[in-house]
Symmetry: C2
């Protein structure tokens, strides 16, 4: 099994929980914890230079901001940075993120080997992810594999995002029309705005514009 693991996770109880369980259940020897992405990157590079590289990276995606300023602020950025420098270390992502588009991107673009969902069975999932990764196989938590297959992904175009954001900022449709014209974004007419909002209402099953914005907020689209 893996000997030296770099675990990137900001919430301390989670990293402790993982470390303990991994040692108990899988016999991992050495787990180094980093609470910031920047810190993780430095540790990774240092280990490479010292000829004592990590053989697995487990990372969260989102990290809380605090007083420290950071250049790498998300797990995705960390992964990208490593891949851009041609480090092919196997990576397991451990996150509450469940939007298919995000997961697909990680698996397909960055060659992440496993995606473990932070949930009620994540210890078992993590063990399976480790085993699969060891065998150079892919792994995705059971809770997600279903939704990944089923749900077609619904993403907003830039224009839709602008509309919803402007509405949530308190601008009327007419004001938005003016703003769009000023920025010379096309389309900008009131009609087009209305039409687009209608389409969005259908897609997000909203009766009123208020509900549309509320739903968009719930789904994390804005």
């Amino acid at each position: 099994m893996f000997k030296k693991i770099l675990l990137v996770e900001d919430i301390d109880t989670i990293s402790h929980g993982i470390a303990v369980k991994m040692k108990q259940e899988v016999g991992v020897v050495d787990i180094i914890i980093a609470q910031y992405c920047d810190n993780a990157y430095l540790k990774f590079i240092k280990a490479e230079k010292d000829q004592e590289p990590f053989d697995l990276l487990i990372t969260d995606l989102s990290f809380k901001k605090d007083y420290r300023e950071s250049t790498i602020s998300s797990g995705e950025q960390l992964i990208k940075k490593l891949r851009d420098q041609n480090y092919n270390i196997p990576i397991i992502v451990y996150s509450i993120e469940e939007r298919p588009s995000v997961i697909k991107k990680l698996m397909n673009w960055y060659g992440v080997s496993a995606y473990v969902f932070k949930g009620r069975n994540s210890v078992k999932s993590m063990i399976n992810a480790l085993k699969a990764t060891k065998k150079k196989e892919r792994f995705i938590s059971a809770e997600l594999s279903a939704t990944l297959r089923k749900k077609e992904i619904f993403t907003l175009e830039e224009f839709d995002t602008i509309l919803l954001l402007q509405l949530s900022k308190g601008n009327t449709q007419e004001e938005i029309s003016v703003i769009l014209k000023e920025k010379s974004i096309s389309p900008s007419s009131l009609s087009s705005i209305e039409k687009r909002l209608n389409r969005l209402k259908e897609e997000l099953k909203a009766k009123t514009t208020i509900q549309l914005v509320a739903n968009a907020k719930d789904l994390g689209l804005i």
Copy 2:
């Protein structure tokens, strides 16, 4: 220190992490973990009946939904249910929630004794929370106490909450008026609804009703 603790937390790595650390650092004897609120409630009641009650409740606020159907779906609902039945067990909330209104509500309305923020230092915070609770003192994580003092908090009356919720569900003001009349909630006239919405818009600095609902969502008021 506390002898028998009920820990309500859905993500298994977190509950493991807490359990391990609490036993190591504070010498807690017995930690029972519940991954669902319903389950937690049942365990709590059973312990009371068996004359072996818990002497502390530690709970998360938000829980993932899965195939199981649940009647209590959030930590707040669980707390409310216990308090409504006059159980005065000390409660520590452990959550990533950082909106002041939510925290204030828990501390003031439900008499939660400590609020621990899920972050990089939450183990230490949790230990301090336990100590404070033992001494019947209050405790709030350092990261939060600052923001709590600064921002003055705005809490809604029940009527306001109904309005905003109905709006976010896609009902028009007229429909809401009908609904209120059916439930014989006073006031129920369109005029009163309009007036109340105007007041809310002022208080939440919203230009439009859409922004009002969006802001309310951001602040965790609905």
